[in-house]
């Protein structure tokens, strides 16, 4: 049993935002102050967790002092930690932005408790080691996300988020049936114990495959994998800007993370090329369809939402390559590339949505064709959109450039060259939709007065976008170390 002090960040990452949510609920007049303080200490806990995992490798904590089978475990390995760090830094940026975004008292009182609950659910989901606990976290995430998305209060937002809530519930119930099957067949809910039991009982292939199908389909619905993405664009495009950023950058990614976790850890002996091909095929469809719709979108936030559908699609392309690549440096590189793309998209999409929110507030609308002169009025925000956009395209030196590069390299090495076609087509479409926005924004107008007009709102967007391009691209080496991988640094 490790020292309590060492595993403390594991608990604190979940409990601190939860406590913050309680105080923000009970003291509505001080919701903003409570929220900002909570955001700072939670992000600090996430950094502490990263350092602990950096130094000691995977952290594992069984709550309650019982046998692991009976209790719920928390665990942080490299993959979980990388995502926790990304999510918490992005969430900190969103919090700073949100502290100035909401104006009326009612919205402020509603936003902060729900936002902190969502944050607790995200961290809880990344760090959970128990399949039923994950179900509870998924529900907490889904309910708080839908409530936040409806916060604008207009008809489209309510309708879209009602649909999001119902679809999410269907997904989590389907997931739960898979969990019930696993408990029936193996008598455990703990991820580690189940993984060992699945590996040891090959005769139960049918049961495990059925459970995997149920759980991954339920989660694919929540991760908006094509063709189950229909609920995402309206829900994300109509939410308040900080909420859109959280939904697109973090919440969808949490569902994908869970699919990856199940794929790599729990069902490793069951996963096969057929399942991987199917998921990657849907992923390719998502890349092409999402990018195409983003190109055709009339509104900036709708464009960003469709771009999320496409970006989630890329992540699924990794699955058949992971199946085809044997253990070793090549597979490690592939896994790190996958994480790099997920993390880069988290920063870039959050920055993009925050900047889009500013454009919308400033112009009173976000119709792309009427955004002329934005670059002059909001130079910093336009710069943030340009940076985030270059990360969405995958231009060097962004993190997604390295991610896509390694992905294509491995696709060719394993003879699955057709994915390269998809990636190139998606990249070209992404370039088109990003430049479409920029060409409008740089319309002819007088020279700018000041680079930054509203620091609290503009700086978070700019910093997040900058991280996605510069930090993750130029200094991605530490990610390999955090993941504990041997692969050659790219």
């Amino acid at each position: 049993m490790p020292e309590p002090a060492m595993t403390a960040p594991l608990v604190l990452c979940i409990v601190l935002p939860l406590l913050g949510a309680l105080f923000a609920t009970a003291l509505p007049g001080r919701a903003v102050a409570v929220g900002i303080v909570t955001a700072l200490v939670t992000a600090a806990a996430a950094v502490a967790l990263t350092l602990a995992v950096w130094e000691q490798g995977t952290l594992h904590l069984v709550l309650g002092g019982w046998e692991p089978a009976l209790a719920i475990a928390l665990r942080a390995d490299g993959i979980a930690t990388a995502l926790v760090l990304m999510a918490n830094l992005v969430a900190l940026g969103i919090s700073v932005y949100a502290s100035g975004y909401f104006q009326d008292a009612i919205r402020i009182r509603s936003f902060w408790p729900l936002w902190l609950l969502l944050w607790a659910a995200l961290n809880g989901l990344f760090l959970a080691g128990d399949l039923f606990n994950l179900y509870v976290m998924l529900e907490l995430l889904g309910i708080s996300a839908a409530a936040l998305g409806a916060l604008t209060g207009n008809r489209e937002a309510i309708a879209a988020n009602l649909r999001y809530l119902l679809v999410g519930l269907l997904g989590s119930i389907t997931y739960l049936l898979g969990v019930a099957f696993l408990y029936t067949a193996h008598g455990s809910l703990d991820i580690g114990i189940l993984a060992a039991a699945i590996a040891a009982n090959e005769q139960l292939f049918a049961v495990d495959a059925a459970a995997m199908t149920l759980m991954i389909s339920g989660l694919a619905l929540k991760a908006a994998l094509f063709p189950l993405h229909f609920w995402l664009p309206p829900a994300h495009a109509n939410a308040p800007a900080p909420v859109s950023a959280a939904l697109s950058a973090l919440v969808v990614k949490a569902a994908f993370y869970l699919i990856l976790r199940l794929w790599l850890d729990v069902f490793a002996p069951v996963t096969g090329m057929a399942a991987a091909m199917l998921l990657a095929l849907l992923g390719s469809a998502a890349v092409l369809w999402g990018s195409w719709r983003a190109l055709r979108a009339a509104r900036l936030k709708l464009l960003a939402a469709y771009s999320t559908v496409a970006q989630i699609g890329y992540l699924f392309l990794f699955l058949p390559l992971l199946v085809a690549t044997p253990e070793g440096p090549a597979r490690d590189n592939l896994l790190a590339a996958l994480l790099l793309m997920a993390v880069t998209h988290g920063f870039a999409k959050a920055g993009f949505f925050l900047a889009a929110g500013l454009v919308q507030t400033n112009a009173g609308h976000d119709r792309i064709d009427e955004l002329g002169g934005t670059a002059q009025r909001l130079p910093a925000t336009t710069f943030a959109i340009a940076l985030a956009g270059s990360a969405l395209i995958g231009l060097p030196p962004s993190g997604s450039f390295i991610g896509k590069w390694l992905l294509m390299q491995q696709a060719i090495a394993t003879g699955q060259w057709w994915w390269v076609v998809v990636i190139l087509a998606g990249t070209a479409l992404a370039a088109a939709y990003v430049f479409r926005v920029l060409s409008r924004a740089f319309g002819l107008e007088p020279t700018p007065l000041r680079f930054i007009t509203d620091p609290r709102a503009e700086v978070p967007a700019l910093v997040l976008a900058l991280v996605s391009v510069a930090v993750l691209g130029l200094a991605s080496g530490p990610l390999w170390t955090l993941l504990g991988l041997s692969g050659a640094d790219a």
């Binding site: 709550l63 309650g64 209790a71 719920i72 139960l204 049961v207």
Partner: protein
């Protein structure tokens, strides 16, 4: 969710027919799925995993501080799940509150109903307290007790009180968070004293669990009644930007 193009389709009769065929096809496919899953479930049952966690869970009950095995799982082995579940209930209620003020209540009830309410409601509250206490060793516990409190609130609202007998907004907010707050603080306190998050020392387990359950019962009762009220406490409605949310 309705596709607007449906209404303008040229031949509604054929559309309806195709719609029916689709529904039928879906029913057949899902029936097949049901049969397949039942076969797989039979396989899982025979996998030899029994008794699963049953024996271990039952064997440890004497060390949990409670005698009811289900309460032992809920408040001890898997207390973390229960904590998060209370957070789910809180999130749902905060979501409901964020959507606007509560609609007006029903008309004030006649003397017969009012008379009935005056003895049914105290009875429900007493029954809730009993249910909470009995949960330590017999069927019952915080959720059932909280549900009875919530039911009392529903009846009070049906009898005409738009706030379902709940206190003012400030008190309601504290009551709502009470369950999660006490739960979390107990967990963190134990961690601070070196026992680990939500790891009860056997001697204190009974009382800590009772403390958590009492707080949770109140919070669940208030949350369920407030969910039935269906909106923010109306004391704040003058601030609300959308008075149109009131039913006409």
């Amino acid at each position: 969710m309705t596709d607007p193009t449906f209404a303008t389709r040229p031949d509604p009769a054929r559309a309806a027919e195709r719609d029916r065929d689709l529904k039928l096809l879906l029913a057949v496919l899902l029936a097949l799925l049901g049969v397949t899953m039942t076969a797989i479930y039979a396989l899982a049952l025979n996998a030899g995993a029994a008794p699963r966690l049953a024996d271990l869970a039952l064997a440890r009950v004497p060390q949990t501080g409670v005698d009811n095995p289900v309460t032992a799982v809920l408040l001890n082995y898997r207390a973390y799940d229960t904590l998060m579940e209370l957070a789910v209930l809180l999130a749902a209620l905060l979501g409901i509150w964020s959507l606007g003020p509560a609609p007006a209540g029903f008309q004030r009830s006649g003397p017969v109903l009012a008379g009935m309410v005056s003895w049914v409601v105290p009875l429900l509250i007493v029954a809730g307290g009993y249910m909470l206490w009995v949960g330590g060793y017999a069927p019952g516990g915080a959720f059932q007790a909280g549900a009875l409190l919530g039911a009392a609130g529903v009846i009070v609202r049906l009898a005409g009180d738009p706030q379902a007998g709940l206190p003012g907004e400030a008190a309601q907010r504290w009551l709502l968070v009470l369950g999660v707050l006490v739960f979390t603080l107990v967990g963190l306190g134990l961690m601070l004293f070196g026992a680990g998050f939500l790891t009860y020392p056997p001697k204190l387990a009974k009382w800590l669990i009772l403390l958590i359950e009492s707080a949770a019962t109140l919070a669940i009762g208030v949350a369920l009644a407030a969910a039935y009220v269906g909106g923010r406490p109306t004391a704040t409605s003058p601030l609300d930007p959308r008075p149109s949310a009131q039913p006409k």
